[in-house]
Amino acid sequence: MVSYILRRVLQSIIVLLVVGLVAFSMFRFVGDPIEQLLGQERTQQDVERLREALGLNDPFIVQYADFLARALQGDFGISYRQSRPVAEILLERLPATLELAFISGFLAVTLGIALGVFTAIRRKGVAANVIMSTSLIGVSLPTFLIGILLIYVFGVQLRWLPTFGRGEVVDLGWWTTGLLTESGLKSLILPAITLGLYQMTLIMRLVRAEMLEVLRQDYIRFARARGLSAKAVNFRHALKNTMVPVITVTGLQLGSIIAFAIITETVFQWPGVGLLFINAVQFVDIPVMAAYLMLISVMFVAINLIVDLLYVWVDPRLRVDGRTA
């Protein structure tokens, strides 16, 4: 078991190194940094001096190591567009994204699992079929359309809720939160629903499919044949076995919440890192893109590690080393 976890950690580090390589290659080869920094008025000597200063004449591997070392210290360079340190911009905007992602992720996971289990058990029921049909519309409805729809109904027509921004925030020094003010909470409602709804639909459909698969297994038939109650069969035996694959995919879905936050943040002009990233893509602001990539890969890798640990907790086959006769 220890070796399993160690292997996972090692793999995570390799993933991060690969992502770092991608980010670094973006820096180095996409859009010439000299071009970006010097502009039109320059001499060949300026170029050479800057190349030397930036270490662009060093061997590739040295440059990469240098990049990683600086990234570890939180130095991601200067944004081409805002001319401020990238790390500073990111840290300033991170709380907004994390608060939004956390609330919607929580909604999506709890409701998604509950509805998935319900629709799997009551497969033939009217309510389950209605939910399933609705969910297909949910999957077909792009996140940005859900957002626009909510804005139109609750913001423009009913004028109940704000349609952009975070509202008032409280500055805690290292963290700004919108959870402590009324306007902050109100501002959170529509974006959180927008972001959570699509993920919830996916999780629900996944849980249902996995649960139906598990319910077909022999050990479920045998549990029924032993006369265990429907409750014990469904919620003890089937649910626990369903959770093994569900944990993996839910982990991935939580990752995509952070990605889909980009869309939600654009629709609601939510001042998070996603909005920052999409602007960086539009204007080819490579340092911001690279830093964002590094930042969220750290989050993804962390989520995956937690998923792996949960796995060990749920599945005894991973807990025991070696095989027993």
């Binding site: 022999d218 032993r226 265990l228 626990k240 076995n241």
Partner: protein
């Protein structure tokens, strides 16, 4: 006091899109307390459907269309789900075929036992756990008080089936339905599990319905037997009487088709029931078969071949561990003989077949065909070897038409001119008894036995000298097995084919082989003339295997000629 189970005029139907399929038709039988009642028949006979109907676990859209099932005086068919659930486990229990999938992998054996005990007996907590340990002990699990807290994956196949039996016993049921309880197990484990079931039935006065396709299991274990064919009961009575003096023609044909370890037949008697005879036209085939070149000495020499599989991978070579599937095995196969390889699962017999066929690279040793090492000229060897596989459902590509399947080896190896391939395929399909028009169909339109004939046609298309048969009949019903074995005997006799015959089934080996090698854990422990192997085996392991074979002495020998 436990109550008898009475089934009267039971009919089970599966309405399908095209027609109404009657899986069980008007079946009547009784199981007394303490009695083991065998339900035997070939696939599709409806025996498992009866078991599922009793348990109220019929797969959708199956339904009981007529008849009654009574436990004691109580009618149990058509009970509502809650009442049925109370009955299941309480009075009725079930043992499934595959112990690997019957237990939930995420709960300990103890947890699964305790919840079942608590659901049915007035026991809880510590008392239930104590009872669970007692049950594990009773079904022969060593150290039950530590093993109770282990997970299913920590038990071997045979031990898991014991746990499954313990689970079925939790509530002290009146009736246990065991659906092919030993089919997934090796012969030696099978004998132990059947002994256990027999003991428990006596001791607890439980009625057991033992569903199986295996006449040997029926003969050894049951008190009474009911023979089914195509959904109908054709014969029922005390086991010794039914097997020894079968009255119905189907029972007779079924019993005649069972290979006997004690009696080598020239051919299985061609008693067939309920179907038209298909003729295998061996004479036509033999007429244009090339004469076998005279070969001095053995045709195939296997010299110390070894195969290792990676057991635990690692980046560091010294930390990798290997599992030796085949360990320096050597034997010769003489031209024109049938050489058998027997062993339990994991003994390496199929691996050896694949190594000789060139499907697995060798990790040591060499194989010499007709005086030339295969590694020197694999092309030449490929033209002279063909293989017949175990599973007729997976050995033919479902997306290819039969004519393409049969033609592929001959075309690819270029053994016959392209323009003749079509005629050759039609001729072969005709000679294996399917008719030339079979080439236009797809494999799924054929039954298992027919598919195995297609496999044979494919193998013969290149006119090979050497044929590898890897468990060619183990997926087939016994009557079809008899037909296929007869065909293989014909091939060997009339075409002079040399064969390597792999099987786990000793009676089949007895019928087919001239000499036999016995494998255990990847090593060849004994090579012997077949007759001598069965009458006077040398190695203790062989003796044990022979001793554990299901006895067929009870079976009628009517119509059999040695």
């Amino acid at each position: 006091m436990t109550s008898p189970l009475t089934i009267t005029d039971l009919t089970v139907e599966f309405p399908t899109r095209r027609k109404l399929f009657t899986a069980v038709d008007d079946a009547t039988l009784t199981v007394e307390p303490g009695e083991i009642h065998g339900l035997v028949g070939e696939s599709g006979a409806g025996k498992s459907t009866i078991g599922a109907a009793i348990m109220g676990l019929l797969d959708k859209p199956g339904r009981i269309a007529a008849g009654t099932i009574k436990l004691g005086e109580r009618e149990i068919s058509g009970l509502d789900p809650a009442a049925m659930r109370a009955l299941r486990g309480k009075q009725l229990s079930m043992i499934f075929q595959d112990p690997l999938t019957s237990l939930n992998p995420l709960f300990t054996v103890g947890e699964q036992l305790v919840e079942t005990i608590e659901a049915h007996l007035k026991l809880s907590g510590g008392a239930a756990r104590k009872r669970a340990i007692e049950l594990l002990d009773r079904v022969g699990i060593p150290n039950p008080d530590t093993r109770v807290d282990q997970y299913p994956h920590q038990f071997s196949g045979g031990m898991r089936q014991r746990v499954v039996i313990a689970l079925a016993l939790c509530s002290e049921p009146d009736i246990i339905i065991a659906d092919e309880p030993t089919t997934a197990l090796d012969v030696s484990i099978q004998a132990q599990i059947l002994d256990l079931i027999r003991e428990l039935a006596r001791e607890r006065q439980v009625g057991v319905i033992l569903i199986t396709h295996d006449m040997g299991v029926i003969a050894e274990t049951t008190d009474r037997v009911t023979v089914m064919y195509d959904g109908r009961i054709v014969e029922s009575g005390p086991t010794a009487q039914v097997l020894g003096h079968p009255q119905h023609e189907y029972t007779r044909s079924l019993i005649a088709a069972v290979p006997r370890p004690g009696l080598k037949l020239d051919r299985f008697p061609q008693i067939s029931y309920g179907g038209r005879e298909t003729t295998f036209k061996i004479e036509d085939l033999a007429r244009d078969w090339p004469a076998q070149p005279r070969t001095e000495g053995p045709l195939l020499e296997v010299r110390g071949i070894t195969k290792r599989f990676l057991d635990k991978g690692s980046l560091i070579p010294s930390r990798r561990t290997y599992f030796t599937a085949v360990d320096e095995v050597s034997f010769d196969i003489r031209a024109g003989e049938v050489f058998g390889l027997v062993g339990e699962s994991g003994s390496g017999k199929s691996t050896i077949a694949r190594m000789i066929a060139g499907l697995y690279p060798l990790d040591g040793g060499e194989v010499i065909f007709d005086g030339t090492p295969i590694s020197e000229d694999p092309e030449a060897f490929r033209r002279q070897v063909q293989m017949i596989f175990q599973d007729p459902y997976s050995s033919l590509n479902p997306r290819h038409r039969v004519d393409r399947i049969v033609a592929e080896p001959a075309l690819h190896l270029g053994v016959i001119p392209k323009e003749n391939v079509k005629a050759r395929v039609a001729e072969l399909l005709d000679r294996v008894g399917l008719g030339a028009e079979a080439g236009l169909k797809y494999p799924h339109e054929f039954s298992g036995g027919q598919r195995q004939r297609i496999s044979i046609a494919r193998a013969l298309a290149t006119q090979p000298r050497f044929l590898i048969c890897d468990e060619p009949t183990s997926a087939l019903d016994v009557s079809i097995q008899a037909q296929i074995l007869n065909i293989l005997k014909d091939l060997q006799e009339h075409l002079g084919l040399t064969m390597l015959f792999i099987s786990h089934d000793l009676p089949v080996v007895r019928q087919m082989c001239d000499r036999v090698g016995v494998l255990k854990g990847g090593q060849l422990v004994e090579v012997q003339e077949t007759g001598r192997l069965f009458e006077a085996p040398d190695h203790p392991y062989t003796k044990e295997l022979i001793r554990l074979m299901p006895k067929t002495d009870l079976l009628s020998t009517e119509g059999l000629t040695g």
